[in-house]
Amino acid sequence: MSTGVRARNESAWLLPNDGTRTDHRLRRDMRRFSDDDEVDLVIVGCGAGGSVLAQRLARAGWRVVALDAGPFWDPDTDWVSDEAGSHHLYWTDPRVITGADPVPLGSNNSGRGVGGSMVHYAGYTPRFHPSDFSTLRDDGVGADWPFGYEELRPYYAAIEQELPVAGEYWPWGDPHGYPHRPHPVGGNGELFLRGAGKLGITAKVGPVAIANGRFGNRPHCIYRGFCLQGCKVNAKASPLITHIPDALAHGAEVRADAMVTRVGMDERTGRATGVHYVSGGASRFQRAAMVAIAGYSIETPRLLLNSASPRYPDGLCNEFDQVGRYLMVQGAPQTAGRFDAEVRMYKAPPPEVSTEEFYETDPAKEYKRGFAVQTVSPLPITWAEHVAAQGHWGRALRDYMSDYVHWACLGSLCEFLPLAGNRVTLADETDSYGLPVARFAYSQCDNDKALVTAAQHVMEDILTAAGADEVITIKRYAHLVGGARMAKDARHGVVDGSCRTFAVPNLYITDGSVLPTQGSANPALTIMAVAARAADHLISGARRGAG
């Protein structure tokens, strides 16, 4: 199987196999375009969506430049096995949060640099279920995608091989296997499996984008537990190692430390002409025949809004007031259980075991849609948030913290519904570039709240069945999707099913912001699959904005 992958994405074989992690020569010899070259495509953001698009189109012979506001990471020198020392992995430019249920950003959900948020995601890569694509039709909530699961299935399978994903045979949604076998589990996963087993809840090991066995020149996971701090091993997948190397080898340029400030537009023709960006303190403009924005759910809407002009006074693609709306986070309560035995959940990757038994709408419940439950294994700083959230401070906080090795921790992903009022707008405050920062408002609906309560009960039951004598819960959020969603027409969304904006024929959005619903799945795999599908559409006909 791996030779099949290599023929279409050689990234893992382009990395060094000498114990270092970065393909320095590939980067040094990278093709470089001039600002005045009208490249076929300029991409804004080198995360899950942007990197896959760059790799696919470079392979197809397109002249591609991909810009990222952050650095071109070298895991050997830029990343550490340390929580506080990993602060630079997150997007920490100013942002304002508000609403009835404000959602913290930064380390929680926002990446920076080449690889994007997948540099610090846990590594879970479940597929969406077929039902996620038609929740409005079938459940009367959420939205329907312009296409169904079947359209995405081959892209899911392809990306799962490229990451690659390890896990047991997956019985939920569209049942499928994974290219790599499941990893051994640590104390946290062991207790989840024990508790679920006692309750008759099916739980499975996986699916995680962590190579189990050597993959190309990427080594086996060493179970050091710092997945969320960037994988220094090159075992956990991120586009930095899964798609960017192959893109470079096929002539794409990755221009790091380049913050795009607005999309260039020809006001007469209504076509995009490239992107304005700041690099090394200088304002520059990259010409391009086509632009793809992949800045994720906060920065993509912000860029569209900041690209306002006389012809587009309310922001680009915003004629119908859709930009920034229907932004979703998943309700992600985490419940921890206390065991007299030592769990030491910091050993082994945080992503180990999941159940999707509660993913679908259960007609017996008063709420629609559902949630997934997964292991999470907070390190000490994050664990202190759990303890502080119980109201403890002072000596009591320290006493609780000294008990750290005895706790196991599960997290839920609850399918919060897309709501028009949950959105990004521009704040009065400006950032270091002088641009208005994003203001992100979030409020939960009753269905959202009911899911969080139900998920908490399930996690409490599992941990108690495993032998926990006490459980504590912290209510929090995970992931971002939506904000520039796909729809059947411009009155209901920003892009069509191929990720092309309704408003500008040569402007695409290829990141998580196009997702109309989110299911209870971690979004990375789906963002990549949607970008790969959009790439196929472009390759098969829309080159240079034709069609």
Partner: protein, 213 residues
């Protein structure tokens, strides 16, 4: 809920003899540099004024049960360094000023409360007085405290304070956390499995929850 004032640190730790810095020779170079710089004497504060330093140190001591002669982690200095560098969490609540200003404002409000209560600045109050002032802020929940939502003030304080303390190897020793693990990794994962250098909890039944029931 009772939270308790500052007391002396537990002289008998739960992980006797466990000193995480002894593992530092096994850490990769950049990680070791990061952690070693953290245990070195902290640089002089650059953000807080002299008066703010005194109040911030007292507040951090209260929030973390860390008296000056106890665990000895320079929490105030670590918070100061973040604020001086503008190293925020990447967001702020709309009803709060940006983090640096929010710290300055809330430290001043603490002194105001202390003077009203005891006629002295916060840092000059008895420990029990300080604890009562801090508890009063927490007890406000989402209500107003000097024009700010108390819950968001509490979030700011505890986020910065906990991030500082639990970044420090001395705190890792106290909780039995083994710290960085690259390129070594872990060999013995699973319930009640330890690496040769990890120390078993000497008091596994010291469940803080159970003790409070």
């Amino acid at each position: 809920m009772s939270h308790g004032p500052v007391t002396a640190p537990d002289p008998q730790g739960r992980f006797p003899g466990f000193v995480v810095m002894r593992q530092s020779p096994s850490w990769d170079g950049v990680t070791a540099l990061t952690i070693r710089s953290r245990v070195a004497p902290p640089p002089a504060p650059r953000f807080f004024t002299a008066a703010e330093q005194v109040t911030a140190r007292a507040l951090a001591g209260q929030l973390l049960g860390q008296p000056h002669d106890g665990l000895g982690v320079p929490v105030m200095e670590m918070i100061d360094a973040r604020l001086a560098d503008g190293q925020t969490d990447g967001w702020r609540y709309e009803d709060m000023p940006e983090d640096g200003q929010a710290w300055r404002d809330t430290l001043a409000h603490l002194d105001t409360d202390a003077k009203e209560r005891s006629g002295a600045g916060f840092a000059d109050c008895e420990g029990s007085e300080q604890a009562a002032i801090v508890q009063a802020v927490q007890d406000l929940g989402s209500r107003d405290w000097h024009g700010l939502p108390a819950g968001h003030v509490w979030s700011l304080w505890t986020r910065y304070a906990c991030t500082a303390l639990y970044a420090h190897p001395t705190a890792w020793d106290e909780i039995g956390f083994s710290g960085p693990a690259y390129p070594r990794g872990y060999k013995n994962i699973g319930v009640d499995a330890r690496e040769p250098f990890e120390v078993r909890d000497a008091r596994p039944a010291q469940d803080p929850v159970r003790e409070r029931l």
